[in-house]
């Protein structure tokens, strides 16, 4: 396929993915908005007023970047895992397998779809946050690049999960038992500097810590982690996950007999 044909193919997958989550917006865009609004009300307004300041900001201001990032992470992941597994379940993945689509176009098509949903939900959550607190952007470039890299990373995670998944149970195990605990323990609701040194060290093994802190730096200008380390870790994870996804697709694991 020449470059123009590859662009046409990529555009086809991305448009299909965006059309899918927009068609079922009641399942894809509305629930995260309601969930995060509840977080704002309960943790930000009701409990947060008793917590006081964190990192020099009100508790509500402090958790907003983490909650936006949590929404981006879960939605980028769940968009790709559910969409790609659905193509396996309905066997429409065969439409791609019989075509001359290069593997990287398939991966990037789904990843861009995941990024689109992550950003759409992140935008909705940001708008909601404005009802509860004043929001500043300390560094727009850092904010945008961190959110894009994070959405890319978790879209790749969703893709890998879907490749291995053999049933609908398999696509809920990782979000429930891995993603949610890592997100909650990733410094969304607190600064990891508040933890005892041992648990702070353990927290640094959690990749989500780097994303939440990188994004928090972009919005508020404060972070528990140095920005260079945050970028380095996120890019390293993206490279590893991409290589893994590409290998799975090349081998046809879970999609070819």
């Amino acid at each position: 396929m020449n470059l123009q044909q590859q662009y046409n193919a990529l555009e086809t997958i991305v448009v299909k993915e965006i059309r899918r989550f927009m068609r079922i917006w009641i399942q894809t865009l509305l629930p995260p908005a309601i969930t995060v609004a509840l977080y704002f009300v309960i943790f930000g307004t009701l409990i947060g007023s008793r917590i006081g300041e964190m990192g020099g900001f009100s508790y509500m201001e402090y958790i907003v970047p983490g909650l936006i990032m949590m929404s981006v992470i879960t939605n980028a992941y769940s968009n790709v895992v559910s969409s790609f597994f659905s193509t396996k379940f309905q066997r429409s993945v065969e439409e791609m397998l019989v075509s001359p689509l290069p593997n990287y176009i398939v991966i990037w098509g789904f990843v861009l779809g995941g990024i689109a949903r992550g950003l759409a939900v992140g935008f909705i959550v940001t708008l909601l946050a404005l009802f509860f607190t004043h929001l500043q952007v300390h560094n727009l470039l850092v904010t945008v690049t961190i959110v894009l890299l994070t959405a890319t990373l978790f879209s790749l995670g969703g893709f890998i999960n879907a490749m291995y998944a053999g049933s609908f149970d398999d696509i809920s195990i990782v979000p429930t038992f891995v993603l949610t605990p890592l997100t909650y323990l990733g410094g969304v609701f607190y600064s990891i500097s508040l933890l005892p040194p041992f648990w702070e060290g353990v927290s640094r093994l959690n990749p989500i810590v780097y994303m939440v802190n990188g994004f928090r730096y972009g919005i508020l200008g404060v972070s528990d982690i140095s920005l260079g380390v945050a970028y380095g870790m996120i890019i390293l994870f993206v490279v590893i996950m991409y290589a893994w996804a590409h290998w799975l697709l090349k081998k046809g694991i879970g999609i070819r007999s």
Binding site: M1, N8, A9, Q90, R91, S92, E94, V98
Partner: protein, 305 residues
Amino acid sequence: MTTALSVRDLRKTYGTGFEALKGISFDVQEGDFMALLGPNGAGKSTTIGIISSLVNKTSGSVSVFGHDVEREYTAAKMHLGIVPQEFNFNQFEKVGDILRTQAGYFGIDRKTANARAEKYLKLLNLWDKRDERSRMLSGGMKRRLMIARALVHEPKLLILDEPTAGVDIELRRSMWEFLKQINQQGTTIILTTHYLEEAEQLCRSIAIIDHGRIIEQNSMKKFLAKLDRETFVLDLGVDLQAAPEIPGVALKMVDSHTLELEISKQESLNQAFAALSERNIPVVSMRNKANRLEELFVALVEKKN
């Protein structure tokens, strides 16, 4: 003449240890209409799966119009259209979108994809269903949708895996006409089917696969010439209690006014009719009991087993 499909020493052993293909080789020439036949589990779908990249081969090679399906997969797949046995499209997508998306996977731009979708949906009488979700279509419409989808990138080789399974006779015949038409326009076709009458009517060549091996490959004409006996069903003008005995002719009662007559191709039917006439048994009408290909196919597969 160009070779449309070349399969060489193709082997497939599944993870369970089951050896589905034991080294099959065959060629299909450009413009041919070939039947790939075999009993259930013979290896037909595995062969098609490997050709279309849905199944990983164990060894051997496959090339489409000279392009290896693994090393030159882009060129090979551009020439190949697949109509699978099972419905494999997104049940929630609209009919038109399914075709446009498939065109996009082949790198076709949106404007051309729209035009192609319109062309093939119209040809397969699905144009008025273009905005319906595919799950709302009838079984026959879904089969036609898969044919339209396989043609949207205008492949030179079309492989259909039991395209008329579960389709009513009227629709089946209209699909036959359509396939004949695109074959005449130059598309090479490989067809697997359990309706042997279909293969006999449509195909010019035949390959029979059984237990993972090719046990026959021939032109349809030469293959059918191997049949030395034929069975006819005679509808009688009178009721009989028992089948009459006529020397050299095997007669069997089906019911009181129907007889089955089996006769060698070298024998004349006149003798049988004269004998029936002498016994005052009028024959109202006559037809072939089964199609000839079915008889040969059953005999061949039983012999090999």
